[in-house]
């Protein structure tokens, strides 16, 4: 089965005042229909840039897709015309952003905003589009949707706004839905509601979901497969069970170990020391070496490649040579 969304060796660079930096370094990912791929890592790891590349929303300049390919249903998106990308965006690929308040237009009612998305991609009248918008609001669990459709974003709670974003994103039944930290700004109870809603919508529409998050707990509940990113590279990729139960890369282990668990009482959390290095200071070798407890001389000189060493693909010399 060929993947619905296939990213291969994607290379994205940005011109900054520190010179040219590589934001994505040969990133390869794929998502099948009806599947959820979790992309996990700290801020600055390239998760959002990956999503924006798929949407054709990388600001150029300063950004540039320097190489690689993004195929949606077999169609190449890298180098596609702006008009073609506009046609695909919203209808074939849609995105749910992190902050629903800044992603919605404050001066239009939410029904109007959803109707606008529908009218852009389908040849329907405003009245019909508005009716569809009300039906979508009902579908995403907004009470009294016909009245709520006339409300403005500021009249809704954070959870309601994110539901509106989801309604808008699924209004044209996209094949691929990208959710970039969709619940970061929300309370846990609302987060649980949004996760359940995304899962329901996936069952209904068969959409492929790419869920971007830094929370391994969210990965556990939502993802079928996981890609762990660090400093612009995919450093581990496998099924959610494999990554959560037998993480290979020290960074993936760190992300799992540093979550304070609900069910147990530990005295000290295992922390990952330091921070993600700025992209212009990566230097040679493995980008994680400075934070890694297992680093050896080889890590300082040679960049590890994503390869399977027995288990699942991982980019780590230690996993390859078995010294972890």
């Amino acid at each position: 089965m060929s993947a619905l969304l296939q990213i291969e060796n994607l290379q994205v660079t940005f011109n900054t005042r520190h010179g040219q930096v590589t934001a994505l370094d040969s990133v390869s990912l794929s998502v099948n229909a009806g599947e959820t791929l979790g992309v996990v890592g700290e801020s600055g790891c390239g998760k959002s840039i990956t999503a924006l590349s798929v949407m054709g929303l990388i600001p150029m300049p300063p950004g540039r897709i320097a190489g690689g390919s993004i195929k949606l249903n077999g169609e190449e998106l890298v180098g596609a015309s702006d008009a073609r990308l506009r046609g695909l965006r919203g209808s074939e690929v849609a995105m749910i952003f992190q902050e629903p308040m800044t992603s919605l237009n404050p001066v239009f009612s939410i029904g109007d905003q959803i109707a606008e998305a529908i009218m852009l991609h389908q040849n329907v009248s405003y009245d019909q589009a508005f009716k569809d918008a009300v039906a979508l609001l009902d579908r995403v669990g907004i009470p009294s949707p016909d009245r709520r459709a006339r409300d403005y974003p500021h009249q809704l709670s954070g959870g309601m706004r994110q539901r509106v974003m989801i309604a808008m994103a699924v209004s044209c039944r996209p094949k691929v839905l990208i959710a970039d930290e969709p619940t970061t700004a929300l309370d846990v109870t609302v987060q649980a509601q949004i996760f359940d809603l995304l899962n329901e919508i996936q069952r209904d529409f068969g959409a492929a979901i790419m869920l971007i998050t830094h929370d391994m707990g969210a990965i556990s509940e939502m993802a079928d497969r996981v890609a762990v990113m660090y400093a612009g590279r995919v450093i581990e990729e496998a099924s959610a069970d494999q990554v959560l139960d037998t993480p290979q890369h020290p960074y993936a282990r760190g992300l799992i170990d540093c979550i304070p668990a609900l069910g147990k009482q530990e005295t000290e959390l295992r922390e990952i020391p330091g921070v993600v290095p700025p992209l212009h200071m990566l230097g040679q070798g493995c980008a994680f070496k400075a934070r890694c407890a297992h680093a050896r001389p080889r890590c300082g000189t040679e960049k590890p490649l994503l390869r399977s060493h027995g288990a699942h693909p991982v980019a780590c010399h230690g996993a390859e040579e078995g010294w972890l």
């Binding site: 959870g159 846990v188 509601q193 509940e221 304070p260 668990a261 069910g263 959390l269 921070v275």
Partner: protein, 333 residues
């Protein structure tokens, strides 16, 4: 074990705009008769959704928000009865750490000055002593003395939160109020800050009033936990009892909603206890239990009579039908 902070029936009311000039002013009760006790050297966590009044309750307890009624006994003295000048002197003992390490540090000041400022304002020590103290605190929170003359933008989020912590410690406080101190940080950095807070609590004998919506974080840091809903404490108790045997349906729902590594999509988990909707408006709170509309156990009495906190000293719950979750919620977490 001595009592550091004893809050009794604390109520905070905010005035709303009058509907017409002759109408009486309507009020919003953000915090309704909240009582809790914090012992020296312990940490009390306050959890709840946004709008539940957890921050307002903590701010009213240290007089950063005016309380409408109630008592706040800090080391036996009622803070609400003090004059502004008297209160200012007590502020040495109570310091704060805020949620957003980006907006809580002055972008134009060098971090050494930021950390030293509380001592300047309170006239603590000579200039040399203050400088030495800043250096000592920098090392204590895990920063390097050669970073003293940098500006806040030259630090990462986690480092900025360390600076906030150093600033809070300059006056040797007894109590630290931490308002969502790690929710703006990446998970890997969260662990660093939580470990630092745990270390400081043991080494300096600090007490924390710890506000958070993340139950995992609260379980890790706090000895006791209070769960708030629409301005009231609905369950309060020792962390082990509260997390392992929650009695209030809202606490159970919060625990069920928190993402957990134990729940896997591949194993076809079903969230054991779901709550839908949003909390009711605090402007016109329901007559009975505030949680009744979202509660799976709600009966007639829940809509007519407000339950009050009841139970033993270690664990109290405000619910007409307390008890373990019906579908084994606690067992699955």
């Amino acid at each position: 074990m001595s009592v550091l902070l004893d809050v009794r029936d604390l109520t905070v009311r905010f005035g709303l705009p009058k509907p017409s000039i002759f109408a009486p002013r309507p009020y919003l009760e953000a915090v309704r008769q909240v009582s809790f006790t914090l012992h020296a050297g312990r940490a009390l966590g306050i959890v709840g959704e946004s709008g539940s009044g957890k921050t307002t309750a903590a701010m009213a307890a240290i007089r950063l928000v005016a309380a409408s009624s109630g008592q706040v006994l800090f080391q036996g003295e009622d803070l609400l009865g003090l004059s502004e000048t008297e209160m200012r002197a007590r502020r040495r003992d109570v310091q704060l750490i805020f949620q957003d390490p980006y907006s809580s540090l002055n972008p134009r000041a060098r971090v050494a000055d930021i950390v030293r400022e509380p001592m300047d304002l309170m006239g603590i020590g000579t200039p040399d002593e203050r400088h030495a103290r800043v250096e000592e605190l920098f090392k204590l929170v895990g920063l390097r003395p050669d970073q003293l003359n940098l500006f806040p933008h030259q630090f990462s989020g986690g480092q900025r939160q360390r600076i906030s912590i150093a600033r809070a410690l300059t006056t040797n406080p007894r109590l630290l109020v931490c308002d969502e101190p790690v929710s703006a940080l990446d998970v890997a950095i969260q662990a660093q800050i939580l470990n630092l807070l745990a270390k400081l609590k043991t080494e300096l004998g600090l007490s924390y009033l710890f506000i958070s919506h993340d139950l995992g974080v609260v379980r890790h840091v706090c000895d006791d936990v209070a769960v708030m809903y629409l301005g009231k404490i609905v369950e309060i108790g020792d962390r082990t009892q509260l997390f392992d045997a929650p009695q209030h349906p809202y606490t159970q729902a919060l625990l069920a909603a928190a993402p957990s590594l134990a729940r896997r999509k591949s194993r076809g988990y079903v969230r054991p206890l779901k709550i839908s909707g949003d909390p009711p408006s605090p402007i016109n709170p329901p007559k009975g239990c505030a949680f009744a509309d979202r509660c799976p156990k709600a009966q007639q009495i829940c809509r007519s009579t407000q339950p009050s906190l009841a139970g033993g000293a270690g664990h109290q719950v405000a619910c007409h039908f307390p008890g373990p979750a019906t579908e084994g919620t606690a067992a699955q977490i």
